[in-house]
């Protein structure tokens, strides 16, 4: 078996007495579209924060293509080739769409500059469906368009692994279809993607394999269809009335 694109081995993170991520392990293969699901507060976003370096794991090891990245600061992990979007969309509000995306191209895994960075930004904005809107200030954009810009910014670093933190959340039904099609397109291009998601239809139609977390632990891992029909997983979801 080849080296996995990303491997998480025994990751743990506690906030005081609350263990948000407790001994979680999984592997994501090159080109895979991998789901990370679970009820609210199960530790999914904390897991993404551990991978992207926003938080440092208390124990365990996270490796990108065989190289250990856990313990590195966020900017070094970004340069190694991990890009992310945020649960609540994060824009560079004083800039236009183009510069928001150039920001990802200049400092990340692929360090472009000048005309090259601009070209890459324009290509990606076209890919996410914002051709012709390069010079629109992001503050004047709708929510889905901001999400598109954020996705283009993450892609601009040409990451080895792309982390999507509930990228589909907050979209209306028609936007949701556009969003799912977009992620599918990225996956077909061979991108390795880990997506934290609540929208089960999206997980079903997009992901091959997924991990289910509950109260900080991994309770199930496997093919999406098998996992979602597992009694323990159903219980975890139905036991939490907070969830969709």
């Amino acid at each position: 078996m080849t080296t996995p694109a990303l491997s998480v081995n025994g990751a743990r993170k506690a906030f005081g007495g609350l263990v948000a991520v407790n001994n979680v392990s999984f592997e994501v293969q090159e080109g895979e579209l991998f789901g990370l699901i679970g009820p609210n507060g199960s530790g999914k976003t904390t897991m993404l924060n551990l991978i992207s370096g926003a938080l440092r794991p208390d124990a365990g090891e996270i490796s990108l293509a065989g190289t250990r990245i856990s313990g590195l600061p966020a900017h070094k992990i970004a340069r190694q080739g991990i890009a992310r979007t945020f649960q609540l969309v994060r824009m560079l509000p004083a800039m236009d769409a183009e510069h928001n995306v150039i920001a990802g191209a200049v400092f990340g895994h692929q360090r472009l500059w000048g005309e090259q960075a601009r070209e890459a930004a324009h290509e990606l904005l076209a890919l996410v469906g914002l051709r012709g809107r390069e010079h629109v200030p992001v503050a004047a954009m709708t929510y889905i368009d901001q999400k598109r810009v954020e996705l283009a910014r993450a892609l601009a670093s040409n990451p080895r692994v792309l982390l999507l933190d509930e990228w589909l959340a907050g979209l209306n039904p028609s936007e949701l279809n556009i969003g799912i099609a977009l992620i599918e397109k990225l996956s077909r291009q061979g991108r390795t993607i880990i997506m934290v998601e609540h929208v089960m239809d999206a997980i079903r139609s997009l992901c091959g394999r997924c991990v289910v977390m509950n109260s900080g632990r991994k309770i199930k891992e496997g093919e999406v269809e098998d996992v979602l029909s597992d009694p323990e997983v159903i219980e975890a979801y139905l036991g939490d009335d907070d969830d969709a």
Partner: protein, 323 residues
């Protein structure tokens, strides 16, 4: 991003001509106007140097007096031992090192604490220098005897201002400048985009501090006698902040727009109300912060945007746009 545009070349020519014209001033007057202009050029250099760091990061530094005083004192202490240009460079280096230490210690803490820390630091250094000098030499200040007259100081400061502007312009078109813009917009995004935010902030703070130290060193020969309360006066820090904010910190030339009217105003006030200068200055500061939060340049840009396209009022989002 890397090639020179027509507009940049024009700006550079205008700036060079303005600098050359300003340099001829001592040929016409060596009294009041030279003195006033010297103050303007000094604050133009200080405010622009301050804005290099505080503009993009929004960290308000009150350590200007510390860097400035260190520059001045380096010259005062070393004048008998070293040539003047070397002392200016030493003062510059000393201020940069101090800025690096302060930056490493404080730039991870949030804005408000940074303001207090830098203010406390400047006061602390002033006290330490006073104490050390009285203990070691039994004197309070230093004599600075040079052959430089006011016009030489003016020319040197003018050159420094030119260098500060050039540096600021080069930074703005570099990766460092773009990174600082991103940090100013959203530091979390900056980190996750691969920017070493802590290191870049320290580098920029050092560049800013170095220029302020250099200005202090160049200013030393203006006064035959320097002492800590004057060289490290917190007034320098405050005035720099006021003038930079008045001009606006979003553009490189913003502070310059603040310095000129403010120095004229200050000159007027200190002549008319010699005993109440601080009160009137304080009121002026409040008025500026309340009425011009983005400075004169910020207001001008708003006005420009308004005149350019008066039809782009905020419009309700239509259904097609949402889809």
């Amino acid at each position: 991003m890397t090639r020179l545009t027509h507009r940049e070349i024009m700006t550079a020519i205008v700036a060079a001509v303005a600098l050359a014209v300003a340099a001829t001033l001592p040929l016409f007057d060596q009294g009041y106007y030279l003195s006033l202009s010297l103050n303007m050029v000094m604050y133009a250099a200080l405010c622009t140097a301050w804005t290099l760091f505080s503009g993009p990061t929004h960290y308000v530094s009150l350590a200007t007096a510390a860097f400035f005083g260190i520059g001045t004192y380096t010259v005062g202490l070393g004048l008998d031992h070293m040539p003047f240009p070397l002392l200016v460079l030493t003062g510059c280096a000393a201020a940069a090192i101090l800025a690096g230490l302060v930056g490493a210690a404080t730039l991870r803490i949030s804005g408000v604490y940074f303001v207090i820390f830098t203010f406390g630091l400047a006061e602390l250094i002033r006290q330490i220098v006073s104490y050390a000098q009285i203990k070691l030499t039994g004197k309070m200040g230093l004599y600075v005897f040079t052959d430089f007259t006011e016009k030489h100081v003016y020319w040197m400061l003018l050159a420094l201002t030119g260098v500060v502007f050039l540096t600021g312009w080069l930074i703005n078109r570099s990766r460092l400048g773009f990174a600082m813009q991103i940090i100013g917009n959203d530091e979390t995004v900056a980190k996750h985009s691969g920017i070493d935010t802590a290191r870049l902030k320290i580098v920029l703070f050092m560049i800013s501090g170095a220029f302020i130290g250099m200005a202090g060193a160049i200013l030393a020969p203006r006064y035959p006698y320097v002492e800590p309360p004057a060289a490290f006066t917190p007034m320098t820090s405050f005035l720099v902040v006021i003038m930079a904010l008045l001009g606006g910190t979003r553009r490189l030339w913003g502070p310059l727009i603040g310095v000129i009217p403010f120095m004229l105003l200050m000159d007027f006030i200190s002549v008319r109300f010699p005993n109440d200068t601080s009160i009137v200055m304080g009121i002026a500061f409040l008025v500026i912060v309340y009425l011009l939060p983005d400075g004169i340049t910020g207001r001008l840009e708003q006005l420009w945007a308004y005149l350019k396209k008066p039809q782009t009022q905020p419009q309700p989002v239509t259904a097609e746009e949402r889809a």
